[in-house]
C-alpha cells in the first residue's frame, strides 16, 4: 500500500466533517465507519470552534485541513499557514477555486501555491482536475500526492471522466492518487478503487444522506471492496458470452 507522505492509512476512506445533521451524527459516522482521515477547515472564531476541535481530537483520526473557498494564491497560503498552527499538522488539502458554479480548481494558481507551500515545509494534497500535465507540474512543484476530482464538489455524479482518471492512474503508477469530490454512491467509490486509486475523499454523499452513519459504513465497505477487487486483478470485459460451465463431457440428451 502506498503511503501518504510516509503515513500508511489503515483504510482508503477520507471523510469530510461538514454538513452533518448534528455533531453527534458526525461523530458516530466516523466511529462506526472507521474512516481514518478527517478533513477540517478554519473559519472566523465564533465560539463553536473549540468544541468541534475537542471532538475531532477525541476521534483519534488524522486531520487534513483544507483551504476551501480560497480564490487566490495569497489567500490559500495564509490559510494553510494558519491551519498548520491550529491543527498542528504539515498536511494541507490545497483547494484553489477557479469557477463559482463548478468549483473547478484554478490549476495555474494551484501549482504556484503548491510550490510555495512545499518550500515552506508543507505536505500538500492538491485538489486538482484530471489533467495529466497539471498533475506533472504539481509533482514537479513538490507534491507527493494528487487528488483529481471525480465530479464537481457536492454534485454526487460519480466519476465524470473515467477515461481521464484511468489515464492518470497509468501515467503516475507510483504516486498516491485520491479521488476527491463528486462521489454520490458507494458504487462510485468502489469504482474509483477498482481503477486502482489509493483512496477516496468524500463528504456530501455521507453528510447529506438520510442516514449518514449507515452511508459512511456503506462507503467504507465499498472502498474496501473496490481495493480488494483491484488487488485481485479483475477480468477484462468482453462482447460475447463465454460458457463458464465446461462444455466437454456434457451428456447427449437431445
Amino acid at each position: 500500500m502506498k503511503t501518504f507522505y510516509g503515513t500508511e492509512l489503515s483504510n482508503p476512506l477520507m471523510l469530510g466533517t461538514a454538513q452533518y445533521p448534528s455533531p453527534a451524527i458526525l461523530e458516530q459516522a466516523f466511529r462506526d465507519s472507521g474512516a481514518g482521515v478527517a478533513t477540517v477547515s478554519l473559519r472566523r472564531e465564533s465560539g463553536a470552534g473549540q468544541t468541534f476541535w475537542q471532538m475531532i481530537r477525541d476521534l483519534d483520526v488524522r486531520v487534513l485541513p483544507n483551504t476551501a473557498g480560497c480564490h487566490t494564491v495569497k489567500e490559500a497560503v495564509t490559510t494553510a499557514q494558519m491551519a498548520r498552527e491550529v491543527f498542528d499538522t504539515r498536511w494541507i488539502k490545497l483547494e484553489l477555486i477557479g469557477h463559482t458554479d463548478s468549483l473547478q480548481p484554478d490549476v495555474f494558481q494551484l501549482v504556484e501555491a503548491a510550490r510555495i507551500l512545499t518550500e515552506d515545509g508543507f505536505q500538500v494534497f492538491p485538489y486538482t482536475t484530471d489533467d495529466l500535465i497539471v498533475g506533472e507540474r504539481l509533482l514537479e512543484a513538490g507534491c507527493e500526492v494528487l487528488m483529481p476530482w471525480g465530479a464537481p464538489i457536492g454534485s454526487g455524479r460519480g466519476l465524470n471522466n473515467e477515461y481521464a482518471l484511468r489515464a492518470m492512474r497509468a501515467e503516475f503508477p507510483d504516486v498516491p492518487l485520491v479521488i476527491d469530490a463528486g462521489i454520490g454512491l458507494p458504487s462510485h467509490a468502489a469504482h474509483a478503487m477498482e481503477l486502482g486509486y489509493d483512496a477516496v475523499l468524500l463528504n456530501t454523499a455521507v453528510a447529506r444522506a438520510g442516514d449518514p452513519v449507515q452511508m459512511a459504513c456503506a462507503m467504507m465497505r465499498a472502498v474496501e471492496a473496490g481495493q480488494m477487487a483491484h488487488q485481485a486483478d479483475p477480468i477484462e470485459a468482453r462482447d460475447m458470452a463465454e460458457p463458464s460451465t465446461p462444455v466437454i463431457g456434457k451428456a447427449f440428451l437431445s
Binding site: G16, L42, R44, E45, Q50, T78, M82, V86, N203
Partner: protein
C-alpha cells in the same frame, strides 16, 4: 483605536495582537492574521497594531 476584527469595525484599547485577543475574549486554539499576513502565535506579543489594521482570528471548523 479603530481596527477591523473578523470583518467588523471595532474600537479597542489593545496595542498588540496578543492584548487584542485577551481584550476580546479569544481563548483556546485560534490562528491569527493581520492585513492578510499570517502572524504565528509566538509573534503575537510583539505584533503592534495600527489604526485600520484588519485582523482575522480563526478557529477549527467543519470542512470537506
Amino acid at each position: 483605536m479603530k481596527i477591523v476584527l473578523n470583518g467588523e469595525p471595532r474600537d479597542v484599547r489593545a496595542a498588540t495582537l496578543s492584548e487584542l485577543l485577551e481584550e476580546c475574549g479569544f481563548s483556546g486554539r485560534v490562528a491569527t492574521a493581520v492585513n492578510e499576513e499570517f502572524v504565528p502565535s509566538s509573534l503575537r506579543i510583539a505584533r503592534k497594531l495600527a489604526v485600520g489594521d484588519r485582523v482575522e482570528v480563526v478557529s477549527p471548523m467543519q470542512g470537506g
